[in-house]
Amino acid sequence: MGISRRNFLKGSGLAAGTMALTGKPVQASVDSPELRTKGLQVSTTVCPYCAVGCGMLVHTKNGKIVNIEGDPEHPINRGALCSKGSALFQVANNERRLTKVQYRAPGSDKWEEKSWDWTMDRIAKLMKDSRDKNFVKSEKRDGKDYVVNRNEGMAFLGSAALDNEECYLWSKFARAMGVSYLEHQARI
């Protein structure tokens, strides 16, 4: 199946396109005489809700998303989106989004803000302790020893919301850690 260079460029060119300034700020107003996305940087994405895989255009301005709509060129949805896809803008722009690491100490009734550094070191230490303490090297069955190398101290619940590459990294990491209790939404 031959592919033309052009087919790559169309996708990446969109993402790499530079912002063309219109001179005056575009207002997000119903009565805006100007197309409010005109000249803005646009990249393509795929809807994060169901698995139809609808294409979307994401318009950004000064590092903020100002519009998300269906990609009219996308061969599956041809610009169409359902209510959820149409609302994706509010995932990107939402006061309820988490922006800092939250930590809850044992017995505490509230979150505290923590740095990534502190948190990651703390989790790494807890994970190592739990793994070392609960590692099952071998198991006796019917009078015979079998090497099983299982980390029974923890379980990983993963996610169908992760990208393939992220899934791969988690899958790889979990296996290196010897985690056998590894599950996600596909099972439920």
């Binding site: 107003s29 119903v30 100007e34 359902c82 803008f89």
Partner: protein, 291 residues
């Protein structure tokens, strides 16, 4: 106001309700494109999963649900409410300051900078489309713009872009032809009528349905262009507004609006019930939000 007589090349919506799945992508896409706030709702306000209770300053289009049984068969039906973008719009004819404009492309747009908040348009519109900004101190009128800024640039309106099944968008004559083709091809499937071809003198929103129009909640309207009726309403407008030098009077009229509005707002809220379109805004949707 337009003095055109040929609207065949205006852009029009062909909305085939037999193909609508009620997914409400249109309802949210409209809010997204126009950055309209969500309304506070409770349970459902109508049949099926209908929400919000009415079109409003925050809701320019809405799917009305019908959920009932007829001759032992379930009917779960959907009807998209929006501005009809009349060929000869009553709102434009009645507006004393020319805030409404039938554009050559088809959409009837509203120019807030001209509006004085008199609400004649709301009285004149046979479809009840223009809505007042009850949430504001000095309300203006708001309604679906037909996504004029998009249409001008060759894009389809947000709702028409996002609709997977039911909306076709294109020149009005072609949309009518397509509608008539569908009626001819599937005579058993449809009520034999192209709604909007002649209603209110012709509109840029054209419907096909499989259920009687009144059963879906369509309002009965005349087939005559409405400006013919509504010109009389103009007599109610302070004459000064109709002159070029009316600016100062207008300012005075606006300054006294606040008191009148306070009372009217309370009345309107009482009339529309607790699920009023006058909503408590929830989340600020964007920094680019108009106000």
């Amino acid at each position: 106001m337009s003095s055109r007589t040929d609207f065949s090349k205006d852009k029009a919506f062909l909305i085939d309700m037999t193909k609508c799945t009620g997914c409400r992508g249109c309802q949210v896409a409209c809010k997204q494109w126009n950055q309209l706030e969500a309304e506070k709702t409770e349970f459902f306000t109508g049949e099926g999963y209908q929400n919000p209770p009415a079109m409003s300053e925050f809701t320019f289009t809405r799917i009305k649900f019908r959920d009932y049984e007829k001759n032992g068969q379930n009917e779960f039906a959907f009807y998209k409410e929006m501005c009809m973008h009349c060929d000869e719009p009553a709102c434009a004819s009645v507006c004393p300051v020319g805030a409404f404009l039938k554009t050559p492309e088809g959409p009837v747009i509203y120019r807030a900078d001209r509006c004085i908040g008199c609400r004649f348009c709301m009285i004149a519109c046979p479809f009840g489309v223009p809505k007042y900004e009850w949430s504001k101190g000095l309300p203006l009128v708001r309604k679906c713009t037909g996504c004029y800024s998009r249409v001008k640039e060759g894009l389809k309106p947000a709702c028409a872009t996002t609709c997977p099944t039911a909306i076709t968008y294109g020149p009005r004559d072609e949309m009518i032809k397509e509608a008539e083709n569908r009626l001819a091809k599937h005579p058993d499937k449809y009520i034999h009528k192209v709604y909007g071809k002649e209603e209110a003198g012709g509109t840029s929103v054209i419907y096909l349905t499989n259920l009687p129009f009144d059963e879906l909640g369509f309002k009965p309207v005349t087939m005559r262009p409405l400006p013919g009726y509504t010109w009389q309403a103009l007599r109610l407008v302070p004459a000064a507004f109709l002159t070029v030098g009316g600016g100062l009077s207008a300012i005075s009229w606006i300054n006294h609006r606040k008191d009148r509005l306070k009372k009217e707002r309370e009345e309107a809220a009482a009339a529309e019930g607790k699920n009023s379109a006058c909503c408590a805004p929830t989340e600020p949707a964007s920094e680019d939000k108009e106000d």
